[in-house]
């Protein structure tokens, strides 16, 4: 059952060094504030899970939070490479980063399988791809009806799932609108769940609306963090800060510029203010 906590307390209480952690949000609703709090609390040895590691994971990897990354596309969308991720993979800085690499379809199926209480996901995938040669977690089964070979990947079941959403009601139910990505799946697949929200409202749902609503009993902590997805965006609240995505390219190319940015914009800010 969800409880309202400060972001600082939510992270302190529900995230531990060594955890398998998924911060999700498909371009939209990326939980930057929560990721920054993880950096601030200097958590380490995390297995970071995310379909599209982008600026937030670049920041977390560059800050030394991660020992492993499970992902399917790592880039700065519309801009270019993630320099901190590349340096971790290519030069083991600030530490070696083990990677487990999938396709988007595999990750989406694996989150859905986690939400559905399945040990694995089965799908038509990875046919003719070398990914199956470098990732031992890509296996194949034979369809018992057609004899066809089908791909299998383990269900994703993070220790902690973290998402940002637009609204929570006073009972702690949460609503996500717009591009919903895998927000519902990561919440339902995770053992512990933190949701940051833009605001608290009286009602998150109306009869018959088929909205994407997460009941309070699927969530552990809710932190009210207006702007908690910046520089990504929150449908109905604020736009994506495209200029920052472009600016990140230069900041992240250089270790010192990167460190300075983290010192100033993450460690230098209190959790509540960010």
């Amino acid at each position: 059952m969800s409880m309202f906590l400060s972001l600082k307390d939510a992270v302190a209480r529900f995230v531990r060094s060594g955890d398998r952690v998924a911060l999700e949000g498909f371009t939209h609703l990326i939980p930057f504030a929560a990721g920054h709090e993880i950096i601030r609390q200097r958590l380490t040895d995390l297995t970071l899970i995310r379909m599209t590691p982008d600026l937030l994971y670049d920041q977390m990897i560059g800050s030394g939070c991660a020992k492993k990354l499970i992902f399917s596309w790592g880039g700065n969308p519309g801009v270019g490479s993630l320099h901190r991720l590349r340096e971790a993979v290519e030069k083991q800085w600030p530490a070696p980063l083990e990677i487990e690499e999938h396709s988007h379809s595999a990750m989406a199926h694996a989150y859905a399988a986690g939400a559905a209480g399945m040990p694995a996901a089965f799908f038509r995938g990875y046919r003719g791809s070398d990914l199956a040669k470098v990732n031992p977690n890509i296996r194949f089964i034979t369809c018992p009806f057609t004899g066809e070979s089908l791909a299998a990947v383990p269900a994703l079941r993070p220790d902690v799932g973290i998402v940002h959403a637009q609204q929570a009601d006073r009972d702690g139910n949460v609503r996500v609108s717009g591009i919903v990505g895998v927000q519902k799946e990561v919440v339902l697949a995770s053992a512990r769940v933190i949701v940051t929200v833009e605001e608290v409202v009286d009602r998150v749902a109306d009869g018959g609306s088929n909205a994407v609503v997460l009941p309070s009993w699927t969530i552990d902590a809710i932190a009210v963090v207006p702007g908690g997805a910046r520089p990504s965006y929150a449908h109905g609240y604020y736009q994506r800060d495209n200029a920052f995505y472009v600016a990140w390219d230069a900041i992240s190319r250089d270790r010192d510029a990167f460190r300075q940015w983290i010192d100033t914009h993450v460690h230098g800010v209190a959790a509540e203010v960010r």
């Binding site: 498909f26 371009t27 939209h28 379909m51 599209t52 992902f71 399917s72 596309w73 790592g74 880039g75 969308p77 519309g78 801009v79 270019g80 490479s81 991720l85 590349r86 993979v89 290519e90 690499e101 999938h102 396709s103 988007h104 379809s105 989406a108 199926h109 989150y111 859905a112 799908f123 038509r124 995938g125 990875y126 046919r127 003719g128 791809s129 070398d130 990914l131 470098v134 066809e148 070979s149 717009g178 591009i179 919903v180 990505g181 895998v182 519902k184 799946e185 994407v212 965006y233 449908h235 736009q239 994506r240 495209n242 200029a243 995505y245 472009v246």
Partner: protein, 268 residues
Amino acid sequence: MSTTTNDVTYTATEMMTVAAARALTNDDVCFVGIGLPSAACNLARLTHAPRLKLLYESGTLETKPQVLPLSIGDGELCETALTTVSVPEMFQYWLQGERITIGFLGGAQVDRFGNLNSTVIGDYAAPKVRLPGSGGATEIATGCQRIYIVMRHNPRAFVERLSFQTSLGHGPTGRERRALSVHTEGPALLVTDLCVMKPDAETNEFCVVSIHPGVTREQVVAATGWPVRFAAAVTVTPAPNTAELEALRDLNARTAKAHGSSSGAADL
């Protein structure tokens, strides 16, 4: 580089985008990636194929953006969509369910059979260059009825042998799709900034079928890392007409204004 044909002046990127857009029809349902494919698909929708259906992997179905998205999940895509579904639903019901007629792909490397690499240059365990990875590409390559590839033409990209086969084209010998029980058509078109290529009906090897105005065969040969073949009758790609160029430039101008840069048309 710009070219002038019949008093119309255009860049090589414009030629490439227009040539890719022309391949799309009102009956197509496209799975669109960011960058060149997005520009080509929206150009087609804004010109000759207004009923073309565009889907982005963020779950936005039948979206009609007024400006090109910077990311695959821009708010514009959702606000102008018929509806937005979850990402698992997009990959399960829409892509794997084979609802898509055309998938657009690109990559860091392509070989003569349209196999693509978007994972690493060099050894996987100790890469020279770590690329973004598959994203949707691996299953787009097998789940869509046909694949159109759009890439800038140079010998580092058009290679004899891929470092890594992220996405299946026609396979390393051009004949692997059937052996893998993949019944979709695979790569059917490769549009570059120099020419248009199509797979040979027998061998599935991509051959040049038309060369863009002002480009020579020698330039195409020099830009291709394998001994490239030309179709029996190679034509000159019709140059962009003024209506196409105007629509594309308006789109890029609106995009630049909205995003503060023209990054919507960047390759990635």
